[in-house]
């Protein structure tokens, strides 16, 4: 949508350059180009255009006065355009949603900041006609996020309390965090896990607690390899939406599939949860495990 209006995007940039320059006098052209996400040539063209603009009359008294020969820009006589333009609907919405996440991550522990955010959101809402509803949940609270980012930066160690869905266990592990990253719709903490002696990915929304611990030796680059994926054969009896989402390797209309998994526990629980829509075929250990668990569970009712 924005592409076809590249001429207009340029007009918008010209208008937005004036207030930015007014409060950033003496900024280098190269930095200005970076801020506006464009090239030095484009920005120089913009400055040359602005230099011809001003109030009717267009004598030096009315024209915007720009100085940029030195490679650094200063602006004068541009009071009319000096106030930053109002946020448009899309910009306001993007900020509004970002604030919602911020407030969710800060949580109740930061009442004062959350109140400031609510205040800003109300101001933004009041400017939007037909204001959308927004509700954003945090994957990770801000306190944990801060500890993780700090540890990544200073190469520190953390003790992480983590809920593993495959084992249905909450355990504490010592982790040297490498990075927070996204994959699919989830956020992950990747790091060297001392109990596994290998690199592990932890889903951010399953982290229960984070504590800084005394520094240990940072793992060398030659850490043990990642877990190896194991392949499982399954028979598909119904390719419902739930099946396609729990086991994305299954496609609609497929009657058999090969699933890659990291843990036998996880795959047998996944098959249990699918209530017979999918059948474990190979390796036979999985088949036996599903049978044993289902039989034991059923035994609870007799």
């Amino acid at each position: 949508m924005a592409k076809q209006e590249s001429g207009l995007a340029r007009t918008a940039r010209l208008l937005d350059l004036v207030p930015y320059l007014t409060t950033h006098q003496g900024i280098a052209i190269s930095e200005l180009a970076k801020t506006f996400n464009t090239t030095v040539k484009e920005i120089t063209d913009d400055l040359n255009t602005l230099w011809m603009c001003g109030l009717p009359g267009y004598t030096p008294l009315e024209l915007i006065d720009l100085e940029f020969e030195s490679g650094f820009v200063s602006i004068r006589n541009a009071e009319t355009l000096a106030a930053p333009r109002a946020l448009d609907r899309a910009e306001a919405l993007s900020i509004y949603m970002g604030l919602d996440l911020l407030s969710a991550e800060l949580g109740s522990a930061n009442e004062k900041l959350v109140a400031e955010i609510t205040n800003l959101q109300e101001q933004l809402r009041s400017q939007l006609i037909s204001a959308p509803q927004v509700q954003i949940e945090a994957n990770l609270n801000s306190e944990f996020r801060a500890l993780i980012l700090r540890a990544i930066r200073r190469r520190g160690w953390l003790e992480i309390t983590y809920h593993s869905a495959a084992n249905d266990q909450v355990t504490k592990r010592q982790v040297a965090p490498y990075e927070l990253s996204q994959s699919g719709s989830h956020e992950y903490l990747q790091g060297y896990c001392d109990s596994a002696k290998a690199i592990r990915n932890f889903r951010a929304d399953r982290i229960v607690d984070v504590v800084e611990i005394a520094d240990q030796v940072w793992p060398s680059n030659q850490v043990a390899a990642n877990e190896e994926a194991v392949e499982y054969e399954v028979k598909v009896h119904s390719s419902s939406r739930q099946v396609l989402e729990v086991l994305p390797q299954i496609t609609a209309n497929s009657s058999t599939a090969t699933i890659q998994g990291f843990s036998a526990q996880w795959i047998s629980r996944a098959i249990l949860s699918l209530a017979g829509q999918v059948e474990a075929v190979d390796p036979s250990e999985i088949r036996v495990a599903v049978h044993a668990r289902a039989t034991a569970a059923l035994g609870n009712y007799h």
Binding site: D16, Y20, T23, F36, P56, R89, L93, M97, R293
Partner: protein, 312 residues
């Protein structure tokens, strides 16, 4: 192109600076760039007005004097042109920049960067001393999320194929009223125009691409519309579950009450969605027993019987 940009900037300046409405003739006479025949100027001016409006600049039209049949005049009110988040504190500026940065690499990254430039043009310093180190991130670079947010911004109806519970794609039409990020998934909430009812759709269940149908500004979001929070209400049915001590972490987090005992702990878990609770109970195998309701109990036991038969 540069001539046109120049004219648009000059027009904006003149209309902003004027204390009274400027007539077309005054505009053509005084503002640089209007050239050619009367008709050509007229066409130029109409296009310019459209362009400025597309940029979100509101041009006000008014008569010079209501008593005379005067020509219409034009102006831009500085208060509608300028950012009106007034008297921001350094902490607030920091919060706003963090909010803009949250979109990095996600659906709205370009728009939030534009917004951030406007905000930093206020010229206030940020103050992060009171804030924890943080860089919150909105997850979601999905092209369909962007299309849906654009539709929500421009109030345009959208159409898409949606995977229903049986795993079959169905065409749906939606007027988006709001968005929600819950349990790591994006949801669109709005009016399903065929069912004429409020529905929500998980963005990753959309097959193919979201397309817009009809014009922008084709609906309004009812002011009374609110996203309903998923919190247990009095009428939400409760499942009574026996859970082995140490097991069922996720169920415990969902539970409204937990009674601990030696062999089995007793949990009450709200049932928002019977299918979801059934799967979750099954996931925990022999570590969870359903006490009530009967409906859940029989769903679980018949699933277990089926599993035993299949794998026997």
């Amino acid at each position: 192109m540069s001539r046109k940009n120049e004219r648009l900037v000059n027009l904006t300046i003149a209309l902003l600076a004027t204390k009274r409405y400027l007539t077309k003739n005054e505009i053509f006479r005084n503002i640089e760039g209007y050239e050619g025949s009367a008709e050509a100027k007229e066409r130029m001016f109409e296009r310019d007005k459209d362009d400025l409006r597309k940029l979100g600049i509101q041009i006000e039209v008014g008569g010079l004097d209501p008593l005379f049949d005067d020509e219409a005049g034009y102006r831009i009110r500085p208060e509608s042109y300028a950012l009106s988040l007034r008297e921001l504190t350094p902490t607030q500026v920091t919060l706003l920049s963090l909010a803009a940065q949250a979109w990095q690499d996600a659906a709205f990254t370009d728009l939030s960067q534009q917004a951030l430039r406007k905000l930093t043009s206020i010229g206030l310093d940020t103050d992060s001393s009171q804030l924890p180190i943080m860089a919150p991130k909105l997850i979601g670079a999905d092209e369909n999320l962007r299309s849906a947010l654009d539709a929500l911004t421009s109030l345009t109806t959208i159409e898409f194929d949606y995977l229903n519970i049986q795993g079959v794609a169905q065409k749906r039409q939606l007027q988006v009223y709001g968005v929600q990020a819950r349990k790591s998934h994006w949801y669109l909430i709005g009016l399903d125009t065929e069912k004429n009812a409020i529905r929500n759709f998980r963005v990753d269940r959309i097959q193919g691409v979201v397309t817009s149908i009809g014009k922008a500004q084709s609906y309004v979001i009812p002011p009374s519309f609110e996203i309903i929070e998923l919190e247990p209400a009095i009428e939400t049915p409760l499942a009574v579950l026996q859970v082995r001590p140490g097991a069922g972490y996720q169920l415990r987090r969902m539970a409204t009450t937990v009674e601990t005992a030696d062999d089995w702990d007793l949990l009450e878990v709200p049932i928002f969605d019977l299918g979801f609770v059934t799967s979750l109970v099954l996931w925990h195998g022999e570590d969870v027993i359903v006490s009530s309701p009967t409906q859940l109990k029989s769903a679980v036991t018949s699933a277990l019987e089926k599993l035993v038969k299949l794998h026997g």
